[in-house]
């Protein structure tokens, strides 16, 4: 009896321990997870109670010190650059390890190893567009460079030194929840991170969508709705700037220079619809930067501002740092997992980035000889296909193997084995992100740059994604350059069987659009079209360019009264809706107000009184946004074909179309019997919008304010860990507005640098720590939402030594 009791209770105890030591479904191993000595409780930290620490790190050559300031921003003082990057890696990993790894797993198409087969489609996409292929090439380039190679190695060694200190109880919370552990950090991961930025920012081409449109509606209609030129004037490079290219550099452009980009010429024989497109980031995402010359500021020295707009995520996409060695003293936003500062200042200069949005991809239609796909046709000859076998390790399942075909252009992304419908149309992707490049070197040189010449020299290395680099120096120069590797690309799907369609011509890097100290006294960019028609190289206009923020920024910077930091702060939070100010007066003048319901008339009355400000506390933006959304759907119904994805004309074109074309057949909506006119569509869209609002809110009086309606959220990187998100952020602004904060997207880093006293002011929607158990995980979000800033402690070491959270003294 006793024996049976022993066996039975032992069996129960062992089974219980076993059950609690293993994950079940999405639940973590509960025993391990709840154990206060190893589980999630160990991730509860209190950095404010941290004592000063002495630390020995064998990878270091000399002594170093790290001060963590009151926002947990690390200030690293090292005796040489190698130690500096070693510690940048170590310190970043300490706060952001899980984020670094998940982002590179995503770029490498390895999420299935963690998340199982539900991530397979996303993983296959990353590999089929060739992110890893491009990263491997970049890594080769970086490692061939004597400067960057050892520094990259030092950074990775630093990350790995941190990882090697970790026991299971120290793993970031997400590892414990999902049930895996960190792997060593490698230079390839750094390259992957840069390629994943390229994948976020250099995908703005609409070749397939344009082809679908032309196949259905013809070239004339295409040119009409997506014009090469319009009334827009606020280019990145001010109109009238003299290019000053030497004749030598122009002849380097292999002879003839086409006057317009080759939009249509290559597709005459392939007019057909393509069902597959790669989903792109939403239009009107963007970024702002500008610099004001000293003679227009109160201090007499330049001011520089930058706010790159990206998806709002926790842990935040940026990690603020101060890096000091005898060779540099640089402060700003870093990309966790990669060395250097990306947007920031040093004691001589400041710089910032916005996306250039240039078309740097082409899609080539491939003709294979037979079903084996072993050979494809170019210039009448059959060339051999490269077959890359991609193996996916899937958690809890057998490995999956995918074959990706590579032609001379690049990977065949769509080949019938991938996508929602089987298709025998083969499209090979050519993309500057596939090329080996060393963006890291640009940031390394920029971090230590002293003047304009250093800045231009640093940019020469930079390839992808195209960025507008704004610049200001203490010596008084301001400048902007749109830098990237720019082949002359096509705007439609291109015939891959003719080698003449391949990229042969690149714009020389020294002839990329740039301007130094222009007469207007400021430089700015906000993802708009870069140049006026005098620029001697063709640039496809049919990419994505956003005009409204640039118009507003330039208007605000054109004022005569001297500007200061307070004015810059006001500008970065500016909520003026330029798009609404162009479109709404048209709608209000066109609309026929007879036979409207009482609440529709009231809505119009509210809009009549609106000053186009998207402030969080008012409700008019709800009415306008609901209206303009329905307007797009009804007006551009021609482009809503589920079997042939097309792109709607941009909102700038929509405004000019509404203003100048009152009789276009495009106004007619295909889904309705009567033939609609412009006035009908404007009225219908208001009626539809009000009907939608009525369903949700009942009456206009019950409408929430804009901030609550828009409901900005900062999501945790893992879609299953919404508990670690911030769901309740109320802010003004919206897409196309300087304060471009939308539902899940917005200013990911706001920075203002006063080159007079070298004070930097910054804030970002997150916190330094990636640990949800830290008060520094999301502590900056509230201030960010209110448009307030922190003064960066970019100051002398003695001040930091006197006041900080804690310090770490490190020796070899």
């Amino acid at each position: 009896m006793r024996f049976i009791g022993f066996i039975l209770s032992t069996l129960i105890a062992v089974s219980l321990v076993y059950a609690l030591d293993h994950p079940w479904g999405t639940a973590p191993a509960m025993g391990a997870f709840f154990d206060p000595m190893h589980g999630f409780w160990q991730n509860a930290v209190d950095e404010r109670a941290m004592p000063d620490i002495d630390l020995a790190l064998s990878g270091l050559h000399d002594k170093a010190t790290v001060y963590y300031d009151e926002r947990l921003v690390p200030h690293i003082y090292a005796a040489n650059d190698s130690d500096l990057y070693y510690l940048q890696g170590y310190v970043t990993a300490q706060h952001r390890l899980w984020q670094m790894e998940i982002q590179t797993h995503s770029a490498a198409g390895r999420l299935t190893e963690i998340a199982g087969d539900k991530a397979l489609d996303a993983d296959r996409m990353q590999r089929r567009i060739g992110l890893g292929y491009g990263a491997a090439k970049s890594l080769e380039t970086i490692q061939k460079d004597d400067t960057t190679s050892p520094l990259l190695r030092a950074y990775c060694d630093g990350v790995n030194a941190y990882i090697s200190t970790l026991q299971a109880k120290d793993y970031p919370l997400e590892y414990k929840l999902i049930g895996y552990k960190p792997e060593p950090w490698t230079p390839l991961k750094v390259a992957l991170l840069l390629k994943s930025m390229a994948n976020m920012l250099s995908v703005y081409e609409y070749d397939i969508e344009n082809t679908n449109f032309i196949a259905q509606y013809g070239e004339e209609q295409f040119n009409y709705l997506y014009p090469e030129t319009d009334s827009f004037k606020d280019y990145v490079i001010p109109t009238g700037t003299r290019w000053g290219f030497s004749p030598e550099s122009m002849t380097g452009f292999s002879g003839d220079i086409p006057q317009v980009s080759p939009v249509i010429d290559s597709i005459t024989d392939i007019r057909e619809a393509y069902q597959h497109v790669i989903e792109k980031p939403r239009e009107l995402n963007g970024s702002n930067n500008w610099a004001v010359a000293g003679y227009k500021t109160k201090s007499g020295k330049p001011l520089l501002c930058n706010d790159p707009h990206l998806e709002l995520k926790l842990p935040a996409i940026w990690y603020e740092m101060h890096l000091v060695s005898p060779h540099m003293n640089v402060y700003g936003a870093t990309l966790p997992g990669a060395p250097c500062v990306i947007s920031g200042c040093n004691d001589s200069i400041a710089w910032g980035l916005t996306n250039g949005g240039r078309d740097v991809r082409d899609w080539y239609k491939i003709k294979f000889k037979d079903e084996s796909h072993a050979e494809y046709l170019v210039d009448g000859k059959w060339l051999k296909t490269d077959k890359h076998l991609e193996r996916y390790k899937i958690k809890g399942k057998l490995d999956y193997i995918d074959t990706v075909l590579y032609t001379r252009y690049g990977p065949v992304v769509f080949d019938g084995s991938y996508g929602r419908v089987p298709s025998k149309k083969y499209l090979s992707l050519k993309w500057t992100a596939h090329q080996g490049s060393n963006e890291f070197k640009t940031f390394y040189l920029l971090n230590a740059a002293r003047d304009y010449d250093d800045y231009i020299h640093a940019l020469d290395q930079y390839s992808c994604p195209t960025q507008n680099f704004v610049f200001a120096s203490r010596s008084g120069d301001i400048a902007i350059k749109q830098q990237g590797s720019h082949p002359i690309t096509h705007s439609t799907v291109t015939d891959g069987s003719a080698s003449i369609n391949d990229w042969t011509r690149y714009i020389p890097t020294e002839n990329n659009p740039h301007v130094k100290n222009p007469d207007q006294g400021f430089v700015s960019s906000a993802n708009q079209f870069p140049v006026d028609e005098t620029y001697p190289y063709p640039i496809s206009r049919v990419g994505i360019y956003e005009d409204f923020r640039a118009m507003r920024i330039n208007k605000l910077l054109a004022r005569d009264a001297p500007m200061d930091v307070a004015y810059m702060i006001k500008m970065q939070s500016d909520n003026y809706g330029t798009e609404a100010s162009m479109t709404l007066p048209l709608l209000l003048s066109i609309i026929d107000r007879s036979k409207l319901k009482a609440d529709e008339l009231l809505a119009l009355k509210l809009l009549d009184q609106w000053d186009y400000l998207y402030n969080a506390t008012i409700s008019q933006p709800i009415l306008y946004e609901a209206w303009e959304k329905q307007l797009d759907t009804l007006l551009w119904d021609e482009m809503l074909d589920p079997n042939a994805p097309m792109r709607m004309p941009n909102k700038y074109r929509r405004a000019s179309f509404l203003a100048t074309d009152s009789t276009s057949p495009l106004y007619d909506n295909h889904l309705t019997d009567p033939v609609e006119t412009r006035a009908d569509i404007v009225k219908m869209s208001l009626v539809h919008a009000m009907a939608k609002l009525r369903v949700v809110y009942g009456t206009l009086a019950a409408l929430p304010d804009w901030g609550h309606y828009k409901h900005t959220m900062v999501h945790h990187l893992s879609p299953t860990l919404d508990a670690f998100s911030r769901m309740d952020v109320s802010t003004g602004g919206y897409r196309g507005i300087i304060n471009a904060t939308s539902e899940r997207h917005g200013p990911s880093w706001r920075m203002i640098v006063d080159l007079g006293d070298m004070h930097a002011y910054c804030v970002y929607p997150g916190g330094e720590s990636g640990n949800p158990g830290s008060r520094y995980y999301d502590d900056m979000i509230d201030k960010w939402a209110k448009g307030e800033y922190y003064t960066a402690r970019y100051e002398h070491r003695t001040k930091l030594a006197a006041k900080h959270l804690y310090q770490v003294n490190i020796h070899p």
């Binding site: 022993f6 105890a13 609690l20 025993g31 206060p36 000595m37 409780w41 509860a44 209190d46 949800p772």
Partner: protein
């Protein structure tokens, strides 16, 4: 009674010591061994194991939660659809207590009749 209290304290202390060197499940052999050492039987053995580990885990987690001002527990509670962070401490105590209790119970079956506790 004193023996039970000594056993509870021994389990808690030894478990804390063992856990600093080994994974969480070391609480099971600790509860088992200490219970056998103290020759506890029946429900008293179970309760001793349960309280020894349960109180250790509750004490540790409550202390951690207090110094962290509930920042972590509030987020993890949301993740498990719990309304209050305090429930996480309760669950922590229950998990540890259950493993400790059943392990102690198993040991109690090895305690022979003639060694019945005389205190």
């Amino acid at each position: 009674m004193m023996k039970t209290i000594y056993a509870i304290i021994s389990i808690a202390l030894l478990a804390a010591l063992a856990e600093s060197l080994m994974p969480w499940w070391v609480i099971a052999p600790v509860a088992f061994t200490v219970t056998y050492f103290f020759q506890l039987r029946g429900w008293r053995a179970f309760l001793t194991g349960m309280l020894g580990i349960g109180l250790l885990w509750i004490g540790l987690s409550a202390y951690i939660d207090h110094t962290n001002t509930h920042i972590l527990s509030a987020r993890v509670a949301t993740l498990f659809y719990l309304t209050e962070p305090i429930w996480l401490i309760v669950i922590t105590g229950l998990i540890g207590g259950l493993v400790g209790g059943i392990s102690a119970l198993a040991a109690s079956y090895l305690v022979t009749e003639h060694k019945v506790n005389s205190l």
